[in-house]
Symmetry: C2
Amino acid sequence: MEHENSYRHLLKWGDKREETVGHHMAGVIKEKFGLTDDDFGRKHLPGTEPVKLEKPSMLKPAQVEFFKSISGDENVLADDLSRARFSCGKFYGELLDMRLGLVPDPPDAVVAPRTHEEVVRIVEYCSRELIAVVPAGGLSSVTGAVRSPRGGIALDLTRHLNRVLTVNKINKTVTVQAGMYGPALEEELNRQGYSCGHFPQSFEYSTVGGWISARGAGQASTGYGKIEDMLVSLKAVTPAGVLETKDYPRTAQGWDLFRVFAGAEGTLGVITEATLHIFNYGPENTASAAFIFRSFEAAVDAMRRIIQSECGKPHLFRISDPDETDIAFRTSGFDGTMADRVLQMLGFKAGSRCLMFVAVEGEKDYAHFVLKKIKKKARAGKGMYIGTSPVKKWLEQRYSSAYMRDPLMDLGIMTDTLETAVTWENLLKVWKAAHEYVAKRPKAFLMIHISHVYENGANLYFTFLSPMEKGNEKNDFAAFHRGLVETILSYGGSISHHHGVGRVLAPWMEGHLGKSSMELLRAVKRHLDPNNIMNPGGTLGLS
Amino acid sequence: MEHENSYRHLLKWGDKREETVGHHMAGVIKEKFGLTDDDFGRKHLPGTEPVKLEKPSMLKPAQVEFFKSISGDENVLADDLSRARFSCGKFYGELLDMRLGLVPDPPDAVVAPRTHEEVVRIVEYCSRELIAVVPAGGLSSVTGAVRSPRGGIALDLTRHLNRVLTVNKINKTVTVQAGMYGPALEEELNRQGYSCGHFPQSFEYSTVGGWISARGAGQASTGYGKIEDMLVSLKAVTPAGVLETKDYPRTAQGWDLFRVFAGAEGTLGVITEATLHIFNYGPENTASAAFIFRSFEAAVDAMRRIIQSECGKPHLFRISDPDETDIAFRTSGFDGTMADRVLQMLGFKAGSRCLMFVAVEGEKDYAHFVLKKIKKKARAGKGMYIGTSPVKKWLEQRYSSAYMRDPLMDLGIMTDTLETAVTWENLLKVWKAAHEYVAKRPKAFLMIHISHVYENGANLYFTFLSPMEKGNEKNDFAAFHRGLVETILSYGGSISHHHGVGRVLAPWMEGHLGKSSMELLRAVKRHLDPNNIMNPGGTLGLS
């Protein structure tokens, strides 16, 4: 059985509930992976043992005393469970470690500073004492960005630095502490008539500082932009001093140096505050539509024409490729209904048809005007409008699919995601190559969607599933994962569009960006963190 | 008389024509500055002498030979006129120097490389030989960014590196060489159905590389963004190697390091190519409107509500403050007409009334929809619609006002511009303080407009005029200019929104950005240009 002190409790997503696999989904899984009801009765590598670390905390008593003198005894934790909790994020390889009872990279202690000034004193001290510092928010990284291979301290920003400081209604901005979680921020903004506009799948369990550090994108990013587009200014503590920028709309006073913190993944310093654009809150204004296309190519072509039409943009804009569309239809029970048969008769065949979802936000007339234009263009691209309810249903469960990973792992099925940004010119090539790669592995399955759309390209988001080789789970996963990354890169995809790089994708950085670019990243790193204490040990390929 | 080899020929703007002051404008000038017809018959500091440099070229013969061996004899110039032409931009203080027969900062030679590879070899060589390199485009800098205080070479990118390399219709991007001028780029794009979307006042005499280096903004930037928003990727030659980035729509693979070239003003390397977003060309779709408001405060309030309404954005969006509106009405002959008397009766009084110009581009229905919404909001803010012709007239002469500077200088009148970015919260404070500052100088006159608008603020653009103290022109101008810069900064303005910093505004950088930020800029500079050869001598306050 599971206990709060078990590996299982730590590795599970979100509210830690035991998610079950629904009836339709179970049917699909059995078919795809050749499982039986018996398999559903067992749990592979359940991780139910209590957490116990092999590595003792290496901090000296005087160092622990220093942290306690700064932030208070109750804000310095060095017990096994706390150290294990802050030892990693939610990368599949990390979850697998936990299921195997492994905690390879725990910090020596977890310190929860109460103020910006405490962060300044802690970072100064750690730089002098050569103690590694890993800034930690919601621990939802899927790229191994939150690990302590060199020990040191994890800085828990969520316990105290979690408040809205100012909502500026004239400038339409919010100034917020880095450790604030999405729902608390959104609730406070909604109360004042605004929205943060940033809704990544991890929304409920990720923080403002994490969003910025990983350069995240929310599900409505096509309209609202990525988090770096919302970022107006920030305050960050580095070993070389505090950087604080002003909230100008835009400047031409040298290059925008503070933007190095967007994407720095904790390697340059600790973001303590950020000022972000906010948006008018008016969910009742949203105009949405779902379409179905006969092929992925047709859907992509329509999507490109829509985004390049200079006719307003949707906020949510997605295409599920044929495999993802198929799963959506089957797990929702739509498959095989009368409506499905009508679709098939009209040429929207399972295996090639694709769903497109659109939602336009903003002022009410505007949202409806833009949607009308989109409908026209979708129709011109041979898309068929299929109502609004698929979008609404999707929005209702938008944060829940992350929970599916745990029961799938219980079934011995690896499931992870990768994502890339790619120009329109290369998009179909990458999409096709990824499918061809995964098709080579027996019983492997890949679904792809597009969910962040730009004038010159879009992202591709890959969800792959496959039964693991029992007893060799780690190597099996690592090799398969590596091959997919390399396929994406070699056909023109970027390393990441919004997950970030962490330690998992770091090995591809130098080859992909080139040596001159990597050396420039490293020069910035050396300047701000001369003793290499900030999230050290491979993040971003810096060392 | 003027000759092609005179200082006057060099200092004059654009096509070098002798611009005359129109009838209405002459009347305003006489009244404001107490001038007479006699003054209009004379030319103060005309600069008609032939150019003659005091500083000899300091390059060694072997160095000149090297440049000739790389780029060909005809592309290496060391005559006085060429060196003087590339010795500065169009900052008022520089024009004044020329009128006084001074060329304080000439390069030792002007080299016009024919290819990216030649730039690579030249930069490598100069870094080794410690020869300063100043990349030069249209020489339209108004901040002293193109000077050679340490001699060395000016790199004329306009002679050969001036072509469109690719128009990618799928990605909707153009890849262009850095030395291409605005009109040639726009013409080529128009021919293929696109527009560059970037129309700074210097458009006709500025280049793509200059736009990026100075972080410029075009007159339609509210819709299309600043040049850095259009920048997809680039290729730049630095002493530390070539940086070349890929044209992804957006990534999360570390921080966007190549963006340091946007705003680097030639201090980090030479941009040779850039890939930019392009836009659909459809001037017939544009929907425009002019409004008049009873006060600047009312106009600004309406502008803020419009831009924050999430209802689409105008591309061109301007407010002229009461002083600029007054000049516009008087120089156009509107002042005192029947229509003017009607306006005055309706409460739109001279001295407090303000013009607002709006133009929405993009797809036709979209442009009209957005304009309709703007009209409604302008009306709700007590603005009165006054037709489209004022906008059209303004667009026709959009690039011509730069020519006025030369005849004004002939009259002994200093005229320069400054500009800043400011949040909505601080905008009126900066506007008021600037007027109060200028009002303290007898016969000085200040006009201000807003021309680049964002959700959280806007720019303020200052044009000041005043008779100069004869015989003490340089000091008189410098002191007055300095006071205005300091007023803007102390009330919450930034150093620049789109002119850049150059050497003129460099002295305020460290105080304004803070030491940590400046040291970060310098660390990037040291890494990419360890021998400090790129545009050295104070640019951006780096040294």
